[in-house]
C-alpha cells in the first residue's frame, strides 16, 4: 500500500510534465488544426534556459525558493519568446498553405532548434548546477507509512497551479473567449472583431511557457538534460493529448495524468522495459473504442 502511494505520486509528477506539454499541443491544434512537432524542442529549450538561469542566479548569491521561482519565470518567458518566434517565422507565412507544408515546416523547426542548442551549448548533457539545487527538495514527508518527496509535492502543486491559471484564462478572460471563438470558427471570430493573429500568438506564447515550466520540472527531476530531450517527451505528450481528445484542454490534463500513471505502474509492477509499449497500447485501445479521445468532440460537430 505504501509502495503504491509512492508510485502514484511518482506517476502523477511524471503525468504533470506530460500534461503541461500536452496542453501546448492541444491548444495549438484547437486553434490551427496543426500538430506543432516543434513543441518538444521548445520544452527542451526551456529546460536549457532554466539550467543557464540557475547558473547565473547562483553566481549572484540567491538560493532556495526565490531562485527556483526565478528559474521557472525565466524558462517560461524564454520558451514563450521561442514559441512566438517559431509561429511568426515558420507557421504564419504558411497559414493558408496545405496542412502538409505546415507539418514539414514544424519538423524543420524541430531539427533547427535541436542543432542550434547543440551548437551553442555543446553536445554533452547539461547538468543542473549542484549549488543552485535547493536542498529542501530532497526532503521527504512521511504519509501513511510511505515517504513522499518534497520535490514531487512541489512539482505537482506548481503544475496544478499553472493549469488552474490556464483554466481561468481560457474560461474567464477576453483573450480566452477569443481563443475559444477562433478554435470554433475563425471567420466568425474575425467578424466580431477578434484579431486572429494576436490570438494565435497568445496561444503559442502560453503553450510554450507551459512547456518551459515542464522543462524546468524535468531538469530538477533528472538533474541533467540533453538536446534530444524533446523528442520522446514530445511524442509522449502528443500521445497524451490524443488520448484525452486533441483540442480539449481538460482532455490534455487527463491524458497526461493517465499516461504518467500507466507508465509508472507498468515500470514498477510490470516490466520496466515495456513501459513505453504499454503507453502506446493504451493509446491504441482508447482510439479503437473512442476515436476522438476520452474527452474529445467529433470533428463533424466543430465544422
Amino acid at each position: 500500500m505504501a509502495d503504491f502511494l509512492q508510485q502514484t505520486v511518482n506517476g502523477l509528477s511524471l503525468g504533470c510534465v506530460y500534461a503541461l506539454l500536452a496542453l501546448g499541443y492541444t491548444m495549438v491544434y484547437g486553434i490551427l488544426q496543426l500538430i506543432n512537432f516543434a513543441h518538444g524542442e521548445v520544452y527542451m529549450v526551456g529546460a536549457y534556459a532554466g539550467i543557464l538561469a540557475a547558473g547565473w542566479l547562483v553566481a549572484t548569491g540567491s538560493s532556495g525558493l526565490l531562485l527556483l521561482s526565478c528559474v521557472f519565470l525565466f524558462a517560461m518567458a524564454y520558451a514563450a519568446v521561442v514559441g512566438l518566434a517559431v509561429e511568426r517565422i515558420a507557421y504564419r507565412p504558411l497559414r493558408d498553405a496545405p496542412r502538409l507544408c505546415l507539418l514539414i515546416s514544424a519538423m524543420g523547426v524541430s531539427f533547427f532548434l535541436q542543432n542550434a542548442v547543440m551548437l551553442t551549448q555543446g553536445k554533452g548533457d547539461k547538468v543542473f548546477p549542484q549549488e543552485a539545487y535547493p536542498a529542501f527538495l530532497d526532503g521527504v514527508i512521511p504519509v501513511a507509512g510511505a515517504t513522499i518527496g518534497v520535490k514531487q509535492v512541489l512539482l505537482v502543486s506548481s503544475s496544478l497551479l499553472l493549469m488552474a491559471f490556464l483554466r481561468v484564462l481560457v474560461l474567464h478572460t477576453r483573450t480566452g473567449r477569443a481563443m475559444r471563438a477562433v478554435a470554433q470558427d475563425r471567420v466568425a471570430a474575425a467578424l466580431v472583431g477578434v484579431r486572429i493573429d494576436r490570438v494565435v500568438s497568445m496561444t503559442f506564447a502560453i503553450g510554450s511557457a507551459l512547456a518551459g515550466a515542464a522543462g524546468v520540472i524535468v531538469s530538477l527531476e533528472y538533474r541533467q538534460v540533453g538536446t534530444t530531450l524533446g523528442f520522446t517527451a514530445g511524442l509522449k505528450a502528443f500521445t497524451a493529448a490524443v488520448l484525452g481528445g486533441i483540442g480539449s484542454i481538460p482532455g490534455a490534463v487527463l491524458g497526461g495524468g493517465l499516461l504518467g500513471l500507466t507508465e509508472t505502474y507498468t515500470a514498477r509492477y510490470g516490466a520496466s522495459e515495456y513501459k513505453d509499449a504499454v503507453a502506446f497500447v493504451l493509446l491504441i485501445a482508447v482510439l479503437l473504442l473512442r476515436p476522438t479521445g476520452i474527452l474529445g468532440h467529433s470533428q463533424a460537430g466543430r465544422a
Binding site: 491559471f165 481561468v168 484564462l169 474567464h172 478572460t173 477576453r174 483573450t175 473567449r177 477569443a178 475559444r180 471563438a181 470554433q184 470558427d185 471567420v187 466568425a188 471570430a189 474575425a190 467578424l191 466580431v192 472583431g193 477578434v194 484579431r195 486572429i196 468532440h297 460537430g301 466543430r302 465544422a303
Partner: protein, 257 residues
C-alpha cells in the same frame, strides 16, 4: 435638420476579381446614416462578394470603400469590426458548441478589456465590467426575442431563432452599421413578418442597416433605397416602387421575354 456631410458607408467604383472571374465590377453605392438600404439581384450576382469586400474578408481589385468619407483601404475583418460594422452570414456562423449567451458574449469582444489578473483576483472594477458585459448580452438577446434561452446550446435552437441569435451577436458589438446577408432565407411568412419588424426596430435604435435579401415583399416593405446587381454590375438603383417597375430588373430576374 442638416444632413451629415458624408454617408456612413460609401462604395466607390469597387471591383473584385477572382482570377478571371469578375465577381463585382465597378459598383458604387451609398449607405446614409440611419437608413435601411437593400442589395438585391439573382443568385451569383456578386452581392455576398460585395459584403465580403466591405467587411474585409476579400480584397478589392480596384475602387475603394469609405467610412464616413474616409477611405479605408486594405480593410481586415477585425478593423471593420472596430470601425463599427457587424454582419451576419448567409449560412449561419454560430459557435456551435457554445450556449446562446456565450455566442452573444463573444460579440462584446471589441468593447471589453479584462486581463488575467482581474479574472484571478476578481477585483471590483473587473466585476463591474463583467456585469456590464453580461447586461449587454441579455439586452441584445431580449431585443431579438431570445430572452430565457441564454443557457441553451446555440445549435439546438430552431433555424429561424439561430438567425436571430446571429443578429443578437452582431448587435452586442454595438455596431453603427449592420450588414444582414439574407436574414429571411428559410423562414415562413409569419417569421418573415417578424423579421421585418426586427430590422425596423434595429434601425430605430440608431443602427444603419445594409440588407441582402431575396424575399421581395420584405425588401420592398423595408428599404428606403434598393441597389440591383446582376453579373457583378449595378443595373439599377432607386426607391422600391421605381426598382419594381424597371424593365432591366424584371429582365434580370425573369429573363428576356
Amino acid at each position: 435638420m442638416i444632413a451629415p456631410a458624408h454617408p456612413l458607408l460609401s462604395v466607390e467604383r469597387l471591383s473584385v476579381a477572382f482570377g478571371g472571374l469578375q465577381a463585382v465590377s465597378n459598383v458604387s453605392l451609398e449607405v446614409p446614416s440611419g437608413a435601411i438600404i437593400s442589395l438585391i439581384g439573382p443568385n451569383g450576382a456578386g452581392k455576398t462578394t460585395l459584403f465580403n469586400c466591405v467587411t474585409g474578408f476579400v480584397a478589392a481589385s480596384s475602387g475603394r470603400v469609405c467610412w464616413e468619407g474616409t477611405p479605408v483601404g486594405g480593410l481586415r475583418p477585425e478593423r471593420a469590426a472596430s470601425l463599427g460594422m457587424a454582419r451576419t452570414f448567409q449560412n449561419l456562423r454560430l459557435f456551435g458548441s457554445m450556449t446562446c449567451a456565450q455566442n452573444v458574449r463573444i460579440g462584446t469582444h471589441r468593447l471589453e478589456n479584462e486581463g488575467l489578473l482581474g479574472a484571478v483576483l476578481g477585483g471590483l472594477a473587473w466585476r463591474g465590467r463583467r456585469e456590464r458585459m453580461e447586461r449587454i448580452v441579455l439586452e441584445a438577446m431580449a431585443f431579438v426575442g431570445l430572452e430565457g434561452e441564454a443557457d441553451r446550446p446555440a445549435t439546438s435552437l430552431p433555424y429561424g431563432l439561430q438567425r436571430r441569435l446571429e443578429i443578437a451577436r452582431a448587435l452586442a458589438s454595438a455596431p453603427r452599421l449592420l450588414l444582414l446577408d439574407e436574414p429571411a432565407a428559410g423562414m415562413n411568412p409569419s417569421e418573415k413578418r417578424d423579421l421585418a419588424g426586427l430590422v425596423r426596430r434595429i434601425r430605430d435604435r440608431g443602427v444603419t442597416v445594409l440588407l441582402i435579401e431575396h424575399d421581395m415583399p420584405v425588401v420592398m416593405d423595408l428599404s428606403e433605397r434598393i441597389y440591383v446587381l446582376d453579373h457583378g454590375e449595378l443595373i439599377c438603383e432607386g426607391a422600391p416602387a421605381a426598382v419594381r417597375s424597371d424593365p432591366r430588373v424584371v429582365e434580370a430576374y425573369l429573363g428576356k421575354a
